[in-house]
Amino acid sequence: MMRELYKKTKQLFPLGDLTEQRHDLVFVSIPHPFLSSLLRHLRDKEGFSHLVLLTAVDWLERGEFQLTYLLCNRSKAWDMGVRVVLPREGATMESIHTLWPTAATYQRELKEMFGIDFPGSPGVNDDFILEGWDDIPPYRRDFDTLKFAEARFTQRPGRESLDPAQHMAKHHSDGS
């Protein structure tokens, strides 16, 4: 099953530990320089022809970005998530648009939303969703949506709420 595939692939690539999430879904990690050759191998030799998604997770407190490349072998109905960890500072990753042209869209979004660069990816520097955005990439954990909203928008007047416990303390205060 997928564990055998993992063992087999591990002989070729420096894979990290295997996380078996389900019988049909596993996650593995790999140092980022080996990513594109691993993906090519999985695509061409192991039938993982479908790039399901590519996205990032911001581990702000560790100073890292995690990129998750989710691949699917549609004939075997297996999924493998390949994780790559990048230093958050100046995060750059090799583009995989040559493997899957559609990856360019994901990479363009990651550049815009997380500030992760994919040099050579078509249109990677073009605005995607946020035309005219001038703040830090908003999907980074250090971008505070609430603060942004409070600075940008005004609240409807007349709203105020009382905390039940404090309200009761005020009313029942018996000197203690």
Binding site: V52, L53, T55, L70, D79, A104, I129
Partner: protein
């Protein structure tokens, strides 16, 4: 008589593959189709570069509906995300509810009761019918056949009535809670559903007569927007768009979720991989959904809980982990990638909507050499919904 463009007018390709378009030359014109355009589903726009009537390059522009749902969810507790997710896809919101709930259940180790799986499946198929009905109206309308939209909207409204009595809402149902579903089927539901299904079947017969057996519609759509099956994998093409090209892939059968393994069906497949074939696959898939709903209502266990015991949602923490839940929605593979870090909030939610690949890279490729008047028809044939692109 096949339209033959004058190739001498075409721009040269640069070394990097981009086109050398000189707008000053007077040969080319930039044209915006959208974000408000009757041929565009939702708020999206296409920046077309045309040469005469013919598109030589197109760029998809999204962001008009961006509300940052994925980010918002990082600031909401697991239960608070539940009312948000449905908004990521208006015509077929239930996939968001299901995928999110299933992802949370998997990472939190909750097993929803069996009956809730049946009801969830029922809801997903009801939503699929609605989505296809909307598509049929849109596809016909994009080619000037307005009456189909009127009919399909009418029967879609009947289905919304069924949604309303089952879930308490018409559009955003907010019914599939992590742990199960919010309620049982109302009394007499099966019978009223049957009436609705009959009316849909009758209407579909009419639609077949005026749309699919229509010389004009055929002339406009046969051969238009052909997707070479070789492109399916590189461009992440899934769902009816791939099935219309002969690929019998359907998550419901390949990786059965909920109770699909207990239903009898085969994926609906087409041959020609063009606009007509895609529309026809969807029409037949709609009929399949009607059949599936009948199977579900007949085969569903009559008694049993519909909601599992869940922890106090006000401070529900989920252990660190990550998972991906997918389903076959009316437009292809819909999925949720959920990462948890042990806190009371999702670390990351990534929504994989099929339009993400269909409406951008694929559309930008298919649209080249297409006549302006066919752009809307082509675009609709990919059945894209912008909110799932920009979330």
């Amino acid at each position: 008589m096949v339209y033959q463009p004058d190739r001498s007018q075409y721009p040269q390709q640069r070394a990097d593959g981009s086109l050398d378009i000189d707008l000053e030359s007077g040969k080319y014109l930039k044209l915006w189709q959208g974000p408000q355009h009757p041929g565009i589903t939702g708020n999206m726009s296409l920046e077309l570069t045309v040469c005469g009537d013919e598109v030589v390059e197109a760029k998809t522009h999204v962001g008009y509906l961006h509300r940052g749902f994925e980010k918002l969810m990082e600031r909401r507790t697991f239960i608070q995300c539940f009312p948000i997710v449905c908004r990521i896809c208006v015509p077929e919101p239930d996939f968001n509810e299901y995928c999110y709930a299933a992802a949370v259940e998997e990472l939190a180790g909750i097993q929803p009761p069996e009956r809730s799986d049946w009801i969830r499946t029922l809801i997903l198929e009801m939503g699929r019918i609605n989505s296809y009905l909307m598509f049929l109206g849109g596809q016909a309308g994009s080619l000037g056949l307005g009456v189909v939209a009127q009919w399909s909207t009418y029967v879609r409204d009947l289905m919304l009535d069924r949604f309303e009595e089952l879930t308490g809402a018409r559009i955003y149902h907010m019914f599939i809670l992590p742990g199960g579903v919010r309620g049982d089927l109302p009394e007499g539901f099966q019978q009223r559903m049957e009436e609705t299904l009959k009316e849909i079947e009758r209407t579909l017969g009419d639609i077949e007569d005026v749309m699919f057996c229509n010389a004009v519609f055929k002339k406009r759509t046969v051969g238009l927007g052909y997707i070479d099956p070789a492109l399916f994998n590189p461009y992440g093409v899934t769902g009816p768009n791939a099935r219309a090209g002969g690929v019998a892939k359907d998550v419901r059968r390949d990786q059965p979720y909920l109770i699909y393994s207990q239903l009898a069906f085969e994926p609906i497949v087409g041959q020609d991989s063009d606009v007509f074939a895609r529309a026809d696959v969807r029409r037949r898939d709609l009929l399949l959904s009607i059949d599936l709903i009948r199977q579900i209502l007949a085969g569903m266990p009559k008694k049993g809980p519909v909601m599992a015991k869940i922890p106090n949602v006000l401070h529900w923490k989920i252990p660190p982990g990550e998972t991906y839940i997918r389903g076959e929605c009316s437009r292809g593979e819909y999925g949720y990638y959920l990462v948890t870090d042990g806190s009371g909030y999702p670390r990351r939610v990534n929504v994989r909507g099929p339009s993400y690949t269909h409406a951008v890279a694929l559309l930008e490729r298919l649209i080249v050499h297409v006549n302006i008047s066919d752009v809307a028809g082509l675009m609709v044939s990919l059945h894209t919904y912008p909110p799932e692109i920009e979330r």
